[in-house]
């Protein structure tokens, strides 16, 4: 697995400064959890890392490759770094198997047979081998999110980004999605997870960063951030969500 380094990242939308100089390191096989109030720029940070949003200033490195170099194809970057969204974003008009196969077939140019095998394998890993022919709208939220994870994993990414993957789910579904993510972490995937699931962060994360107003306010082990936060702002936030 790969390392991700972020240096001096800045992004504005019009007059709104969303990211105001972010430095971040995710080691190989590390799980980083990003917590913070809404609107603090967590999602934008993740989107910048796989170039869904082009940063205004600053650099992002995957291992030693500067992703912000104009000569690097964003499509290549996104094949290296998988992403899972809060709203799943599965292709509505394709069934589950073809959702997973599509990018393999057309972005990676893999043969149909291999793509199909990979799709079935990844869907089996997330426990959805019996849903291959279902359409996304026929699945529960948790199942849809697991399909989305399988779709990202099928591209054989070197790192994974999770943007509030459980925020749109009911408690039962949250558990099944977190279980899949936990297993992925155990297998040594490099992961950056924006989440409010403190249980997951405490159990799985190697490091936690607290994000506020476009900057990293505090950074440390889960215990340090959740229980012994140095900053007043962090403390008051933790008090609210850990209640």
């Amino acid at each position: 697995m790969s390392t991700i380094r972020v240096r001096g990242l800045k992004k504005s939308f019009g007059n709104l400064e969303v990211l105001r100089g972010v430095d971040l390191d995710i080691g190989s096989g590390q799980v980083l959890c990003i917590v913070g109030p809404s609107g603090s720029g967590k999602s934008t940070l993740l989107r910048c890392i796989n170039l869904l949003v082009m940063p205004d200033e600053g650099e992002i490195y995957l291992d030693s490759v500067a992703l912000t170099n104009p000569h690097i194809r964003p499509e290549w970057v996104r094949q290296q770094i998988g992403m899972v969204f809060q709203s799943f974003n599965l292709f509505t008009h394709l069934n589950v198997k073809r959702n997973v196969m599509l990018a393999l077939r057309h972005a990676k140019k893999v043969s149909r047979a291999v793509a199909e095998k990979t799709a079935v394998y990844q869907l089996t890993r997330v426990g959805l081998a019996d849903k291959l022919d279902a359409f996304p709208a026929q699945l529960s939220g948790g199942q849809q999110q697991r399909v989305a994870i399988a779709r990202a994993l099928a591209m054989d990414p070197k790192a994974m980004l999770f943007d509030e993957p459980t925020s749109a789910l009911d408690p039962e579904s949250i558990h099944e999605v977190l279980a899949v993510m936990g297993r992925l972490a155990e297998e040594g995937m490099t992961m950056a997870v924006v989440t409010h699931e403190m249980g997951f962060a405490k159990e799985v994360a190697d490091r936690v960063v607290f994000f506020d107003a476009g900057k990293i306010l505090e950074e440390g082990s889960p215990a340090e951030i959740f229980d012994r936060a140095g900053h007043e702002r962090t403390q008051s936030f933790m008090k609210k969500i850990l209640r």
Binding site: S12, N50, L52, M54, P55, D56, T68, P70, H71, P74, E75, W76, V77, R78, Q79, G82, M83, F85, S87, F88, N89, L90, F91, T92, H93, L102, A103, H106, A107, K108, F135, P136, A137, Q138, A148, R151, A152, M155
Partner: protein
């Protein structure tokens, strides 16, 4: 069909004159205090507004057919003459259908490009300096293209078809008076081109709407797995758009079919010209002529729209677009037979209504 819900009385329940709860004889039916509910919570006994649309179609067709025969019986026009002359219209209706369908299909190809240009207006990109030269310079061709597309659509939608037709007609007659191919003379071709230009503009708007109503999350999901812009367009945007615009495009075909009547003014012998020249003037039967015309147009348009609604329903993909009522083909076409239309209370069959549900009383 308008609002299916009872938007009627906002007055307090129980309504005057009737007892709040019909006293059902028999045991174990606890009376429900309806006055405790918010006004408007309880459905009225029979709700005309919630009746099925095929019922109204059936009533409408029955009224129209009845009126047709009534007026015939009153001597307004001669029904035997209509039945006798109707077959003569088959040739002209074919001409009309040819004009409509050929211009529609050819226009669709152009409208795909035009709709694409209009759907994604060029924007200033503050991060352009971090992108490839080609992307940085794309405004050079995107702005003119967008300007042309918008101007074209505005021109087509902002002027009457009659005016467009005369412009094309005289332009062609003056520049190439002997323009004649496939057995069509210059005036036919002028009509063809005018109709083509017109339907292209309108279809482009329908297609633009389709492109823009594809959920941004779909494109984002495809980007996130590393698909390129063209791949996303071909594999995600277009397939979803085609399903979303089936009915708007059906509308446009029908509109195109009706607009084709205007070609009669430049001497194209299509359905309207047949009815007007041959029947209304030559046979001196104007009322019969235009009643027949109405019959032809209704037959084609109602059938087509009913079939397309059916096609859209059976080709529907769960979660894409708005679900339509589950109605069988015979019911959709004729308004009778088939499965009964679902009542509103049946919408969620997996949730059993509570035993003392007041709305079921």
């Amino acid at each position: 069909m308008g609002d299916e819900r009872d938007s009627g009385s906002t007055g307090a329940l129980p309504s005057a004159g009737s007892p709040p709860v019909p006293t059902v004889p028999g045991p174990a039916k606890a009376p429900v205090d309806l006055s405790a509910l918010t006004p408007g919570a309880v459905r009225k006994p029979f709700n005309w507004a919630a009746a099925s649309s095929p019922l109204y179609l059936g009533i409408g067709v029955a009224c129209a057919v009845g009126l047709f025969f009534l007026l015939g019986a009153l001597g307004e026009y001669s029904i035997p003459f209509i039945l006798q002359t109707l077959p003569q219209g088959i040739g002209p209706v074919e001409t009309s259908l040819e004009f409509t369908t050929f211009t529609f299909l050819l226009g669709f190809v152009g409208a795909l490009g035009l709709g694409l240009v209009r759907a994604y207006p060029p924007r200033r990109d503050p991060t352009a300096s971090r992108k490839r030269l080609r992307t940085r310079l794309s405004w050079l061709w995107r702005w003119p293209l967008y300007g042309f597309g918008s101007g074209y659509v505005a021109a087509v939608r902002g002027t009457p078809f009659l005016v467009q037709l005369y412009i094309v007609y005289y332009a062609l007659i003056f520049t190439a008076p002997h323009f004649s191919y496939f057995g069509w003379d210059a005036n036919y071709w002028a009509g063809f081109f005018a109709l083509l230009l017109n339907t292209t503009g309108y279809q482009a708007e329908a297609i633009r709407g389709g492109f823009q109503s594809v959920d941004a999350g779909q494109v984002e999901g495809a980007k996130a797995v590393g698909m390129g812009r063209l791949q996303i367009f071909a594999r995600i945007t277009v397939p979803q758009t085609l399903r979303l615009i089936t009915l708007p495009l059906t509308n446009e075909w029908i509109s195109n079919f009706k607009t084709a009547t205007i070609l009669s003014v430049i001497g194209v012998f299509e359905l309207f010209d047949w009815a007007h020249t041959n029947v209304a003037l030559y046979d001196a039967r104007p009322i019969e002529a235009f009643v027949m015309l109405a019959i032809f147009y209704l037959l084609v348009n109602v059938t087509l729209s009913r079939v397309m609604t059916y096609v859209e329903r059976v080709r529907r993909i769960p979660g894409l677009g708005t679900p339509v009522q589950e109605i069988g083909m015979s019911k959709r076409l004729l308004g009778v037979g088939g499965r009964p239309a679902p009542k509103m209370g049946d919408a969620a069959p997996d949730v059993a209504p509570p035993a003392d549900n007041p709305t079921q009383a």
